[in-house]
Amino acid sequence: MGMADQTEVIGRLEDVVSTAEDFDRVVAQALPTLLERTRYSMRRFLRDTGQWSEDTAHEKFILRWSAEYLERFMLSGRNEVPCRPLYLLDAFVAKLHSRPEPFCYHPELLTPLGRFIDGLVARAVVSRDALIALYHHCYGMSPRDVIAVTGLSESESQRIYKNFRRWRESGWQRTMEMIGMTDAELEELAAEQKRHHQQFTHEAERVIRFAQDHYRKSEPDYYPCLSRPEWEAMFSEAYGHDYRLWHLVLCMDCVQKTWGLGPKRMPIVEKPRLEIRVRP
């Protein structure tokens, strides 16, 4: 985009838009500019908080989060008309950054393995398909294993199969694209796992805890870890399905603690242990 075009786009974004349709049109035409502006804000935020480094991993990180922000802005901003989209975006990003821990940042999550795990867990926060698929990617479980481990009822278990199917069809691919994992990186991850399995798993276990600790707080009331008798009560009294589904996949300690609490008629599943699966 030339300088003149850029100036014109910014000029349009600075003007007042009066209807939601106008907002959609103006924003859709200026997506690259808005993405660049959000990247700039994020880069400055990371610099100010001493978390920035000049490398591709950091650039990818802010691109991913800028896209997240922009997607939210595009849908919520249309309810704010009349407004000036450029300044509304600035306010929107500033508001997000004013919160504690606005996103999950840890230097170790910027490696290919870290990005892979962080991307999956971050997606699980907003997508039930990704949440259920996390049982497969972290513990190598099948839908039946998930149902057994979480002790779901028959009516609930049907959705698990659907979640798995959708994830295999499109969810995984879209998530990998979103977090910027290239095919080469995925191949390299799989090869590394094959070559140094124990070291790879050990590294994954260390990294996954950073992501789990951060994203588990996104659940309402922040479902805390429970003792085995408390889990036992929840399983036997058949409540807290969301609690189980959400918490167990995001807590390595609890998923092992609750092993064997599912209904007796369920097939016996091996005690869950971390077993990263790169492909769905």
């Binding site: 997506l31 690259p32 993405l35 691109l63 997607e71 659907k162 309402p220 429970l226 409540y239």
Partner: protein
């Protein structure tokens, strides 16, 4: 260079996905719509139900609501100011979702109401067919199953009648004779009437089934609400258990801490008490020693008193001598408490001069003199001479007491 290319490719991909997500999220149908408030999942709306709603309240303000599909695609979003009301209506393929946020100083509340789009006749038939199929596969509630069976039977019957009627018409057209055609027309009229009755019955049956379906939907809604509240209660119970455990732990720690404080205080008090007892013992010993010395001194004084009595009797002869004796203490050294002076003070009347404070009434002076068991003698230049016959204490102490009286300004014993 390769990294730059990789980054540029990623950037282009992200932009493409942003464009795609916006259009996809508005197009893609979703059975379950997940509701997020302030980035936290709070519940779901069922896109297959007749109507589905979700209410949420929190102590802080509700910043925004987001709707996401099961795949995680952002379907809609609404932000709200810290104080005030905001609402919007989102159109989805399955229907509309009405979002509302209300923030006040006391807290925020939000609601999401899903209303399905009106179904077309074909969709209705499809759903009916699905229902029949489902009924054949798995058992459903007795009332609904009975109604559905009735509809199926009626539809089959209707189809048979229509086919029969059509065949009859064809046959009648093929017959050349006119008389049977009249008879056939009568039968046709009867059949048409029966057909009308059947159609009405079918309409009624369909209506009753619709009512039953609505009832079922309401029932499912209630069940969903109940299960939701059960989940909430469960979560609350867990939280309460956790809190209780924490409180017990804190209580134990507090108790241990407070008992430690009490114990340390008690030991400190005990130490202080021991010190005091030790001090008292030392003091007691000192006092006993002093008492012994005083008793010894007392014995000496008694001996001296016995030896001084003859001299005292000689000395009490004249009034002049008395006045002289009274005037002596000023000139005597501080050790005026000699046995001799004591004896004199206890036996001779005491004369002294008093200067009263300004504004003292005569009544107060008289009363004061009376209280001392004395009497006034003379007045000279503002000084009042007072005589006390027998002071109840040694002269010095007596005069000190006189000086201490409120109405007394100054005292002297000389002229």
């Amino acid at each position: 260079m390769e990294q730059d290319k990789d980054l540029a490719a990623y950037c282009a991909r992200v932009l493409g996905m942003l464009n795609m997500n916006t259009s996809r999220s508005l197009r893609s149908p979703s059975d379950v719509i997940h509701v997020f408030i302030n980035e936290r999942r709070v519940g779901t709306l069922n896109g297959r139900e007749a109507e589905s709603s979700l209410q949420f309240q929190r102590q802080g303000c509700v910043d925004h609501i987001q709707l996401r599909s099961e795949e995680g695609a952002l379907i809609g979003s609404l932000s709200a100011p810290e104080c005030g009301f905001r609402a919007t209506r989102l159109s989805l393929p399955e229907g509309t979702v009405e979002l509302r946020i209300r923030n006040t100083a006391e807290g925020g509340s939000a609601s999401a109401l899903f209303t399905p789009a009106p179904r077309r006749w074909s969709e209705f038939l499809r759903s009916m067919a699905e229902s029949v199929q489902t009924m054949a596969v798995r058992p459903v509630a007795d009332g609904t199953a009975h109604g559905m069976r009735m509809v199926v039977v009626l539809q089959v019957l209707l189809a048979v009648i229509v086919l029969g009627l059509a065949a009859d018409r064809i046959m009648s057209r093929l017959t050349p004779d006119g008389a049977p055609q009249v008879a056939t027309q009568t039968e046709v009229a009867k059949l048409e009437q029966q057909l009308g009755d059947l159609a009405r019955m079918q309409a009624k049956a369909v209506e009753s089934i619709q009512l039953q379906q609505q009832g079922m939907v309401r029932l499912q809604l209630e069940i969903a609400k109940l299960s939701s509240s059960q989940r909430a209660i469960g979560a609350g119970m867990q939280a309460a258990r956790q809190t209780l455990g924490h409180v017990e732990e804190v209580g134990r720690q507090d108790a241990a801490q407070s008992s430690g404080i009490v114990m340390s205080r008690a030991s400190t008090d005990q130490r202080q008490l021991k010190d005091e007892i030790r001090n008292l013992t030392v003091e007691n010993a000192r006092l006993s020693k002093e008492m012994a010395e005083l008793a010894e001194q007392n014995q000496d004084l008694e001996k001296m008193l016995k030896s001084a009595r003859p001299e005292v009797s000689k000395a009490t002869v004249t009034d002049q001598d008395n006045s002289m004796l009274i005037q002596q203490p000023d000139h005597e050294p501080a050790t005026s408490m000699s046995p001799r002076a004591e004896v004199r003070n206890n036996t001779q009347p005491l004369l002294f001069w008093v200067n009263f404070s300004e504004g003292t009434t005569q009544e107060s002076i008289d009363q004061w003199v009376h209280d001392m068991q004395g009497h006034m003698v003379a007045v000279n230049g503002g000084w009042q001479e007072v005589e006390v016959t027998q002071p109840s204490m040694p002269t010095d102490r007596f005069l000190e007491q006189v000086r201490g009286a409120k109405i007394v300004k100054a005292v002297r014993v000389d002229q």
